[in-house]
């Protein structure tokens, strides 16, 4: 019997006056990998921001349940502490904040949320260095300011490191734009694949089928006009790769 992790029902959301998500429905069970594909500008990224709670995105109707709880009433940080992780397409640079202290704050916030004692600095650094080593991140990078001057690949490596340290039960991999950096994708997909243990779930948001060569989805959905217009298995993505999105986009 599968347990639902994320249940989205009749979701409508807008940015300013523009309705972008319209009657969107999707259920993701524990251990499942879903991919949402769609043409550029269809609002795929909006979906990832709505799920992570970014300010400026207004939910006008519908419901989202995460682990059975009402997600919409949770703050951005509560969602993260409950185990949601957004792997951003363009991770933000934070000058003056070193990677290690940034992650220490994040890990301690998570521990506090789970009523666990905070790690002391030595314990934390030991754990961080071990995880970093697995991803080929050296100690020098841990001392640098978050994402400042990082290459595309390094940024993704840092996203992967954060995920392996925070151990979320649900990740959203946002690669909505067409500009894919293949090296960066390899880094992040390796990490995502390591995370997938049959219990954790993943939502991939992408334009190109290429990404799905690295991470095997259980389900593929086509997103157009604010909602899912077709669902299938991996063969659907191959069909899109061959024929494009034209048949799914309404003539305007």
């Amino acid at each position: 019997m599968s347990t639902p992790l994320l249940e989205i029902e009749d979701l409508c959301a807008r940015v300013g006056n523009k309705e972008i998500i319209k009657n969107f429905n999707l259920t993701i069970n524990e251990g499942e990998v879903h991919a949402i594909m769609g043409p550029n500008g269809a609002g795929k990224s909006t979906l990832s921001y709505v799920l992570s709670g970014k300010p400026g995105y207004e939910i006008t109707s519908g419901s989202i349940k995460f682990k059975g709880k009402d997600l919409i009433s949770m703050s951005v940080e509560e969602r993260a502490r409950e185990g949601m992780f957004l792997i951003m397409q363009y991770p933000v640079e934070i000058p003056g904040v070193p990677v290690n202290s940034f992650l220490k704050h994040a890990v301690n916030a998570l521990h506090q949320h789970n009523n666990e004692s905070e790690l002391d600095t030595m314990e934390f650094l030991k754990m961080l260095r071990e995880e970093a080593k697995k991803l080929g991140i050296d100690n020098e990078m841990l001392k640098r300011a978050v994402n400042v001057g990082f290459s595309g690949g390094e940024k993704k490596r840092l996203e992967a490191l954060q995920m392996s340290v925070l151990k979320p039960c649900f990740a959203i991999l946002d690669e909505a734009d067409s500009g894919l950096d293949i090296d960066a994708i390899k880094v992040v997909s390796n990490c995502v694949n390591n995370m997938l243990d049959g219990k954790r779930s993943l939502l991939i948001i992408t334009h190109y089928q290429k990404l799905l060569n690295y991470i095997e989805p259980d389900f593929v959905h086509v997103f157009a006009d604010g909602h899912i217009v077709k669902s299938g298995n991996k063969s659907l993505s191959e069909e899109i790769e061959a024929n494009g999105y034209a048949s799914y986009v309404k003539e305007k």
């Binding site: 992570s52 709670g53 970014k54 300010p55 703050s75 951005v76 940080e77 969602r79 993260a80 502490r81 992780f85 957004l86 951003m88 991770p91 933000v92 640079e93 934070i94 000058p95 003056g96 904040v97 202290s101 940034f102 992650l103 704050h105 994040a106 916030a109 998570l110 949320h113 300011a145 954060q162 925070l166």
Partner: protein
């Protein structure tokens, strides 16, 4: 119940030059109004009241309900009934006069308690001397400095300070002496009265000497304490001397803190300062540096963090008076609530001061729509071969950065604090001494 200019009895009234100087200060002082250019952004309403209480040495015991010298306070915790601990006739058990400060470095400590010097002298190495200002006046050491360099007409509060010249310390560092530990001056204030304290310190660094002077304004009383600390620090740097002056102002939130730091810097000497202001409802930290001789150098850096309805003012005036003098200033502020940050920064380069360099930067972060920043940079350049620049900018916390941090589980308030700390990193990094830097960082 008195205004700022009250007739009180001061020590040293038999010293004619001192009396003349006090008289001069008294005649010059008037509270600047809105039309005074130097005070147009920093309103002085908090000083327009008549319930001030003066605190010259002899009145303090009576005022605080304290004890005569050498009298046991009678509390059972007090085991030094002769007050040899230097509590100044108050109580020497930690309960009534606690001079302990939590700092992560060793220092030669000097304490003022409610505006009064605590006669507890640190064990100083050879070549360094600390005495009270009155002793330095009586013995003549202070005669060459006090009242010689500061233009009282330009500095009304220095004039007021001079009118009540009595409290303070005189610190001298002999030639070639390099102090290993900082000299730390701690100003404890805990008073239910609207106490006025005028403290005047003089620091003299002889040829090729070096010292670090740390000032810590620490409020130890009830939250709602009101008081006015009016400070003048004079620094005299002989050729090749180096003085680093770090200040942390954490006064009570209803208090007034006005300080003038006046430095005279000679050939090849360096005065470097950093000031963090966090407290008081009305505060000005003003720094005037006279780069008097060739190759004199100064750095004036500051940070301020404020909330509520406070006004915190950072005013600088760097006078390049000779060739090849250099100066740089970096001031950064974080302003929230309905607070107002003021920065007035001046670089003045006189006609003969060729080949000088002067740089100034002010940056501020506004945390609310009602916070305000007033910035007045001034360059006054009469020489033609100089490098000089200034810049000012203000902004707000980056929403994308906040979202990124929160999406990793960091709470909104923590995320803001992390970004504020990061914002102030570069100016705090200007502090050379690692331990002091960490202390300041921990207090941001």
């Amino acid at each position: 119940m008195v205004g700022l200019l009250e007739n009180i009895e001061l020590f040293g009234q038999n010293i004619p030059w001192l009396e003349a100087l006090r008289e001069e200060g008294r005649n010059i002082f008037t509270l600047p109004g809105a039309k005074t250019e130097a005070w147009k952004y920093t309103k002085l309403h908090d000083l327009r009241c008549d319930d001030f209480v003066y605190s010259p040495s002899k009145f303090i015991e009576e005022l605080e309900g304290g004890y005569e010298d050498n009298e046991d306070c009678g509390c059972s915790d007090c085991d030094q009934s002769d007050h040899s601990c230097g509590c100044g006739g108050g109580c020497c058990c930690g309960n009534h006069l606690n001079l302990y400060i939590d700092i992560p470095f060793e220092a030669y400590q000097i304490h003022f308690n409610n505006g009064k010097f605590v006669p507890l002298y640190p064990a100083l190495p050879l070549g360094v001397e600390v005495m009270t200002l009155m002793q330095a006046i009586v013995e003549g050491e202070a005669r060459n400095y006090v009242g010689k360099y500061i233009e009282l007409k330009k500095y009304p509060f220095a004039a007021l300070n001079t009118a009540y010249l009595e409290e303070g310390v005189f610190i001298s560092i002999e030639r070639n002496v390099k102090l290993a530990k900082p000299i730390m001056i701690v100003y404890h204030t805990s008073t239910k009265h609207n106490l006025v304290s005028h403290i005047h310190n003089i620091i003299v660094a002889e040829n090729n000497s070096s010292a670090v002077v740390v000032e810590y304004y620490k409020h130890t009383g009830a939250d709602k304490d009101r008081y006015f600390n009016n400070i003048v620090n004079e620094f005299y740097l002989s050729p090749k001397a180096e003085v680093k002056h770090y200040k942390f102002q954490e006064e009570a939130y209803k208090s007034v803190h006005i300080a003038l730091n006046h430095a005279v810097v000679k050939d090849g000497a360096k005065y470097k300062s950093f000031c963090l202001q966090k407290g008081a409802n009305l505060a000005r930290n003003e720094t005037k540096v006279e780069l008097l001789q060739e190759n004199a150098n100064t750095e004036v850096n500051a940070a301020y963090i404020m909330n509520g309805w406070a006004t915190i003012d950072t005013t600088t005036d760097i006078a390049h008076l000779s060739e090849k003098t250099t100066s740089s200033q970096l001031v950064k502020g974080v302003v929230g609530g309905e607070a107002r940050g003021v920065f007035q920064g001046k670089i003045a380069i006189s006609k003969n001061a060729q080949e000088t360099e002067g740089y100034q930067q002010h940056r501020a972060l506004l945390l609310s729509d009602t916070a305000e920043i007033d910035v007045k940079p001034e360059l006054e350049i009469y020489a033609d071969n100089v490098k000089c620049s200034h810049g000012a900018a203000c902004g707000e916390l980056d929403k994308e950065q906040l979202f990124y941090m929160r999406s990793r589980g960091i709470g909104e308030e923590d995320a803001k604090q992390i970004l504020i700390d990061a914002y102030l990193t570069d100016v705090i990094d200007k502090i050379d001494d690692e331990d002091i830097k960490e202390w300041i960082r921990a207090n941001v």
